[in-house]
Amino acid sequence: MHELSIVSSIVDSVTETLAAYPGAKVKEVRLRVGVLASVIEDSLQFCYGIATEETPLEGSALVVKVLPVVAHCSGCAQDVEIESLMSFRCPRCKEPVSDLRQGRELEIESIEIDEVTETVYDDAHCGAAAGNPEEER
């Protein structure tokens, strides 16, 4: 159950990134998680709600993209996907494989934010805007 510390790291990382986007609201945080990363998505989601409370990430969605194990099979001279974690063998030639190319990822791929658009106010425009409801009446 180290998902809470993982989620806390996510909150720290995203908060750090947000410094460049003042006032932005986080809508979504997208992760890439390999099946060998020892992380359970349900636990991540559960902890995410708690760990993001009263942070700029509050209310955002956590989207987890799960990556299968990919290993290089020297016999077949190609990268192959390992279907079962109970047997690290090439699905084609059935030889054992130990040269892993994917499956341990634990990273934040991207975040989706709503950015505050800078509005330039000038007196004339404000005056006109304020005057509009009057005119409509």
């Binding site: 180290h2 993982i6 790291s9 992760l31 020892s38 992380v39 063998r89 130990s98 934040i108 709503d114």
Partner: protein, 222 residues
């Protein structure tokens, strides 16, 4: 408001990975072989390490250990009986060791004067697999009382290991331990891994294990 996607492509455990890389550099410079011992609670990590330290100290090798537990310094006291310097890391509820905890507990130790440093992780076969401690060799331990299918149940840990140790082989028979199945299962998860069959009580398998340590230590200096 405008919606924007900000690409991060950033490791979630980046901070730990960076600290671990720093430690690995320090260990390499100092020429100390560092091993991270992981297993379930009750596998016999401490007894195995106690025996290993005792044998190394007798040989005149310079070995030290850090031992992680949620609470108590019982294991550190047990290990210190070997005569090797030992420090306890209490994680206070955290289920794994992190590179930062290891770094903090090295203060005052001259790594250049050590041949071996053992880090006994918190007993847990899941969480410690995600945390690099800067070790050269990760050792996954499994006792004959745990069942031959343990590697299949915890593939993330066994696949990340560099060596496997089967403990308590002196009671393999009464436990009905199926050796062939256990060895086959370890190899299914981590093909070609070195496996040591040991008993901390009788000393069985310790010669092979100690030779392996000496070979790995020699490889550091070349």
């Amino acid at each position: 408001m405008t919606t924007r996607i900000v690409e991060l492509r950033r490791g979630i455990l980046k901070k730990n990975d960076e600290l671990a890389a720093g430690l690995r550099g320090r260990f390499e410079t100092a020429g100390v072989l560092v091993l991270n011992l992981v297993s379930s609670p009750g596998t016999g990590k401490t007894a195995f390490l106690q025996r290993t330290l005792k044998e190394l100290v007798t040989q005149g090798a310079r070995a030290a250990a850090l031992v992680g537990d949620l609470e108590t310094d019982n294991d550190a006291r047990r290990l210190a009986e070997s005569g090797a310097p030992v420090r306890q890391i209490n994680t206070h509820g955290i289920c794994h060791l992190e590179a930062e905890m290891v770094g903090k507990h090295l203060d005052g130790w001259d790594l250049g004067k050590l041949d071996y440093l053992f880090i006994e992780n918190v007993g847990n076969l899941v969480c410690p697999s995600s945390y690099d401690l800067g070790e050269k060799i990760r050792v996954a331990l499994l006792s004959v009382t745990e069942g031959e299918d343990k590697p299949l149940k915890y593939p993330t840990m066994f696949n990340s290991a560099d060596a496997a140790v089967i403990t308590k082989i002196d009671i393999a028979e009464p436990c009905g331990f199926d050796r062939d199945t256990a060895l086959r299962n370890i190899n299914e998860i981590r093909p070609g891994i070195r496996i040591f069959e040991t008993s901390s009580k009788t000393g069985a398998g310790m010669t092979e294990w100690l030779s392996f340590l000496a070979e790995e230590r020699d490889r550091l200096s070349h």
